[in-house]
């Protein structure tokens, strides 16, 4: 990886971010949709905090916020995958492949963009949360930690989205993964404590790496940082990240070998 490669990754990342802002359809799933769902679910199921066994929180919003953030990040990964597939379909990736840059810079550039968008969305949700009454127990360091986790999640989920895009080269296939995002979210503790969920979802949520990641983001909001929670979140992120980046690398290699 040369200095040029690093500059290329930054340039491609900047391009992804600009693209998303220039096309509202790409921005909506990342910001608008999760925000609306957050508002509705918080107000609709808000009395859940009265349930016996619910973790001690100021309000349901404080609990839900992490779920909305991870939902946004997952959708950002999906959007990034769609955008990469569109690049492949329109031949833009050829422009990159014909240039003297490392092959993997193409993927990393896309991931840089997704990570940046995830970071921006994290800031959005923290702001929205604070405005509407959530409070972050761990204060500013807590907020920074949340952003840190969200950005890493962006890389990890972006990797998975990118691998599907590279493997299939089809935007509509990547788009078809949209419902899958929600399945994974439902089978985790994103929206509700897994101890209070119904079986068999509760058991799946207990071991779902996404639950660990969400709890890592949620921890600084509803309590003080617990190192075991932090550790599990990092571990889950490392796992998903490794899978995402690994699959992308394999998919890229396969695409280059069978030729465009």
């Amino acid at each position: 990886m040369t200095a040029t490669d690093l500059r290329v990754i930054a340039a491609l990342g900047a391009r992804s971010v600009k693209q998303t802002f220039r096309r509202p359809q790409l921005l909506a799933p990342i910001v608008v949709f999760p925000s609306i769902l957050l508002a509705i679910q918080t107000a609709g199921a808000g009395r859940a905090v009265d349930l016996p066994g619910f973790p001690p929180v100021d309000n349901f919003l404080s609990f839900m916020l992490a779920g909305a953030m991870i939902q946004s990040t997952l959708l950002a990964g999906n959007s990034g995958g769609i955008a990469l597939a569109v690049d492949i379909e329109m031949g833009f990736t050829d422009r990159l492949l014909a240039a003297p840059i490392s092959r993997f810079a193409i993927v990393l550039g896309r991931l840089a963009g997704t990570a940046a968008l995830a970071g921006l969305s994290a800031i959005w949700f923290i702001a929205v949360g604070l405005i509407f009454g959530a409070s972050i127990q761990e204060g500013v360091p807590g907020a920074l930690l949340m952003i840190f986790f969200v950005v890493l999640s962006g890389v990890a989920f972006g990797g998975i989205g990118a691998s599907v895009a590279l493997r299939t080269g089809s935007a509509s296939v990547v788009q078809g993964l949209f419902p899958l995002v929600f399945v994974i979210l439902f089978l985790s503790s994103a929206f509700f404590p897994d101890t209070l969920m119904l079986e068999p979802a509760a058991s799946i949520a207990k071991y779902n790496p996404l639950s660990f990641i969400v709890e890592g983001i949620r921890d600084p909001v509803i309590s003080s940082i617990t190192w075991s929670v932090f550790g599990k979140a990092i571990g889950a992120l490392a796992l998903v990240g490794a899978i995402g980046i690994g699959l992308s690398a394999l998919a890229l290699r396969r695409r280059l070998r069978t030729g465009g």
Binding site: T4, Q19, M90, G91, F92, D94, L97, A99, G259
Partner: protein, 319 residues
């Protein structure tokens, strides 16, 4: 050292389709070489192999002295590429795209910006530079594509069907630009399905059909191989017989067509003046005179047994 050389270059796709079936070619430094052939002949596959986007399944090739497989990175540094259907992102502005290309080629920020701005001016896109590419006409997109292929001053430029779908004015602009680039020292390898384009631009033309190179030479030589130009003379009065007697001194007479006297000029177009003078001296008034050259389509037809389609360039998008 040749700018491009290929040795039995071959590409077979999964499913057994042999897009390129063993092509040998050599393009000299500073030459303009055109690959002429119909759709599906293998032109694009050939370009993709030479530009390292596709691995050959047989044979070898070198571009700017580097092997396209083992020294791909070096090849990429030396070439500029403008592919079919201009792979431009409609959401980016022209300036953003060409600057990205500069970054891709490792140009430092300042240098990249300067070169980009200069090229935008060269292809007359300064006014549109900050608009999104999605708003550009076909001609503008091609010019942008061409400009971004030049940002790192490549030694060899690959153009895949550079004027397909463009209106005549845009086409001419691209041609002028390519000729200018060549004068400045760039080797140009282009593919085209338009006879006129190959005829006008290329130093040498390679005719490709069904993955094979069936003929290769300068346009003039290719046409000369097929036949000589013929003169179609229409006279004012019904003096065809007398005209024929005179004209036979200068070339081989051909059967008349629609009352015109036809003669094949073995010496080429230079034979026209003597014929006209002779007719004039004999007091015969010529109504019209047509010099019909064999075309590359005649060459194509002879070599492959079928016409090159389309024969006429389509009038493409107009601004």
């Amino acid at each position: 050292m040749p700018a491009i050389e290929a040795n039995e270059l071959e590409r077979t796709f999964e499913g057994g389709v042999q897009a390129v079936a063993g092509v040998d070619l050599e393009v000299a430094d500073r030459e303009i070489y055109a690959f002429l052939g119909p759709n599906g002949a293998g032109k694009t596959t050939m370009v993709r192999m030479l530009t390292t986007l596709l691995r050959p399944t047989g044979g070898s090739a070198r571009v700017a002295g580097y092997d396209v497989v083992t020294e791909a990175a070096s090849v990429r540094r030396a070439i500029g590429v403008a592919l079919q259907e201009a792979a431009l992102d409609p959401l980016m502005t022209g300036r953003e795209l060409i600057r990205l290309q500069a970054t891709l080629h490792g140009l430092a920020r300042q240098e990249g910006h300067e070169k980009s701005d200069a090229l935008l001016e060269r292809v007359d896109l300064v006014d549109a530079a900050d608009r999104q590419v999605g708003t550009y006409s076909g001609g503008m997109r091609r010019r942008l594509d061409l400009a971004s292929a030049l940002v790192h001053e490549p030694k060899v430029l690959f153009l895949d069907e550079p004027t397909t779908g463009l209106d005549p004015v845009s086409r001419r602009t691209i041609w002028e630009e390519v000729e200018q680039l060549n004068r400045e020292g760039t080797t140009v390898f282009l593919t085209t399905q338009y006879l006129e384009e190959a005829d006008q631009l290329a130093n040498r033309v390679g005719i490709i059909d069904d993955g094979k190179l069936v003929a290769e030479d300068t346009p003039a030589q290719l046409k000369a191989q097929i036949g000589h130009p013929r003169l179609e003379i229409r006279l004012v009065e019904d003096v065809a017989e007398r005209a024929r007697e005179i004209v036979v001194r200068f070339g081989r007479p051909l059967p008349s067509k629609d009352g015109a006297v036809l003669v094949e000029l073995e010496g080429g177009a230079t034979g026209v003046a003597p014929v006209v003078r002779a007719l004039d001296e004999a007091g015969l008034t010529v109504e019209s005179l047509d010099l019909v050259e064999p075309t590359l389509d005649d060459v194509f037809l002879e070599k492959t047994g079928h016409h090159l389609e389309p024969e006429e360039p389509e009038t493409g998008e107009v601004e």
